[in-house]
Subunit: 352 residues, 2 copies
Amino acid sequence: MAVTMKEVARRARVSTATVSRVFNDSNLVGEETRERVWTVAKELRYVPNPVGRSLSTRRTDAIGLLLPDLYGEFFSEVIRGADQTVQQHRYHLLISSSHNERSEIEAALQMMHGRVDGLVIMTPHIDAQTLHANLPKSLPVVLLNCPVAGNAFDSMSIDNYSGAYGMVRHLLAHGHRRIAIIKGIERNYDAIERLRGYRAAITEAGIQAEDLIEVSGDFSEASGYKAVETILGLSPRPSAIFASNDSMAIGALSALKIAKVQVPGEIALVGFDNIPVGNYVKPTLTTVNVDISNLGVQAVTRLLHAVREKNSHTKHQVILPTTLIIRESCGCPVEERSQYSAKGGDATASNN
Amino acid sequence: MAVTMKEVARRARVSTATVSRVFNDSNLVGEETRERVWTVAKELRYVPNPVGRSLSTRRTDAIGLLLPDLYGEFFSEVIRGADQTVQQHRYHLLISSSHNERSEIEAALQMMHGRVDGLVIMTPHIDAQTLHANLPKSLPVVLLNCPVAGNAFDSMSIDNYSGAYGMVRHLLAHGHRRIAIIKGIERNYDAIERLRGYRAAITEAGIQAEDLIEVSGDFSEASGYKAVETILGLSPRPSAIFASNDSMAIGALSALKIAKVQVPGEIALVGFDNIPVGNYVKPTLTTVNVDISNLGVQAVTRLLHAVREKNSHTKHQVILPTTLIIRESCGCPVEERSQYSAKGGDATASNN
DNA sequence: CTGAAAGCGCTTACAG
DNA sequence: CTGAAAGCGCTTACAG
């Protein structure tokens, strides 16, 4: 059907080896021969078959991206960063999502097997065990925001801890002493780290540990709404709320509006993630920014390094810094309403 | 390195042909043999190499998705629908984006060549010519929201015309007579169709064609903002604004707020797309909903039909209906604030 | 029910 | 600088 190398070779009166060399920019081809092959190839509209190529080179020139989900801007931004980087390196991107259960992840790992030269894996529910059991030992992997400890894998994650820490410090700096946190999903890694940052900032400020005000939430808008009912019932009432993500902050904002509690006048409110909607609510939402597409860029860059420089590559656990976005909802003076970096000092440098 | 079929065959004391048959659920294998092969395969953790497989079957079990962009919810929703469908059929999804220029599209088409069994192409800037020139005649293709005329390709698009028509009819039904449109990018297909719907509804209502109030825009928030300046300068002032997309509607809303013009009290405002932010602005935005992930589902379903039933497959141009989402910004009575279908009668049924 | 063999479209030492 | 040949890991008529 499609024209093959053999046909090009025949018409250009050379061997397939020579055609192959021409298409691989080998320098062991005579100028004249090269031209002749090019011409014929162009005429026939020959495009090398990547499958044949892959079989002999044992490369696929593709990498896989495993995602738990595909809802919302977070994942599309990761994909955007990944796609961009992959294209720069003339690689391809294979995407597979909806892997929230262990069995699905295992199936997905199997399916990627042999189709990609490396894998970026983002999934909250995975352990090193499962990974090792389902991946060829030699397949390079970068873990994205996965709670896998140790240094057996390259990993890349967001500095949830410092982001939360920096945000709470910001509230403290503006005089808040009773700061409530609306927590995320209990066993979620991001949620745990953000909570840890909150606790550290509070206790470091000399506030008693028993004064930590922790309200449950599950990252949903509804849970933020509900949490406010609890918070408004406390006495003395907290003067600030740190929601573990923006969705909950927005839910909280609705509840506060309905309860006729002024934000930030009577209570300050801040979130985490910097989702676009934060710019549209009134007051605009102070939050922690995460450069998500960069997360994708870095992960793929790191992975391709592992793929191409297998020998010199050494594994690292990288933590990407976050940024505070000061808008209206925290009530801090206008002149401070600019971006500045959250304390992100413990980010490990990547060395590729 | 990785264990191959040969190794499995050797250990199970059968030929590779038999191993192959076992893995392809062929029924010409004895039960006993089958078991033995399974056991050995399991032991060795054998996974068939898809590249070898592809080379002999001439299938890749993958389809490609070509996107112009990767910004925002629209594309992530398309991807979500596509990924979901692809997985159901045990196919793989190859993604490639940022194809806005002709040369990039051509390069992308070349790169997909041989890697996929079919292609879903979404790009505003493409003509049938370029497509034919860069695609193997035999490769199934589904065009997504592409302005390619004729029936040479399967295509799938949103019913922009009827959506706009229905929305403007809604405004007319509520007594509006001077309805301005903020247009989208001039040569953009969606924009053209929405404009066409607006014009049809207006003129059908017996309003003079010279009373069409068309203001330029480019789909950006900023252009919506600017358009309002023009609109407020008109006399008599329009009583309603139909923005060709939600982003512009939101820009317009900001401008109206600043100009202290009540929405919907003094002027009604509606958009198109139903982006999530529309729920958060005040007043909430009346708009036209497009089930985007379904667009991805339908396109892939159609494509896989073309891939697998090459013979029985006939090409169709499908138009997916839209829905009106009535919220606060159009000012219509509360009891009507529910979803109902926009006139979507001219959607062609897909027959796979 | 099973195997030997050819073939899918490339690449790459090896020899010249 | 060029070609003949082996090999990458599968599948599938063909023969038995």
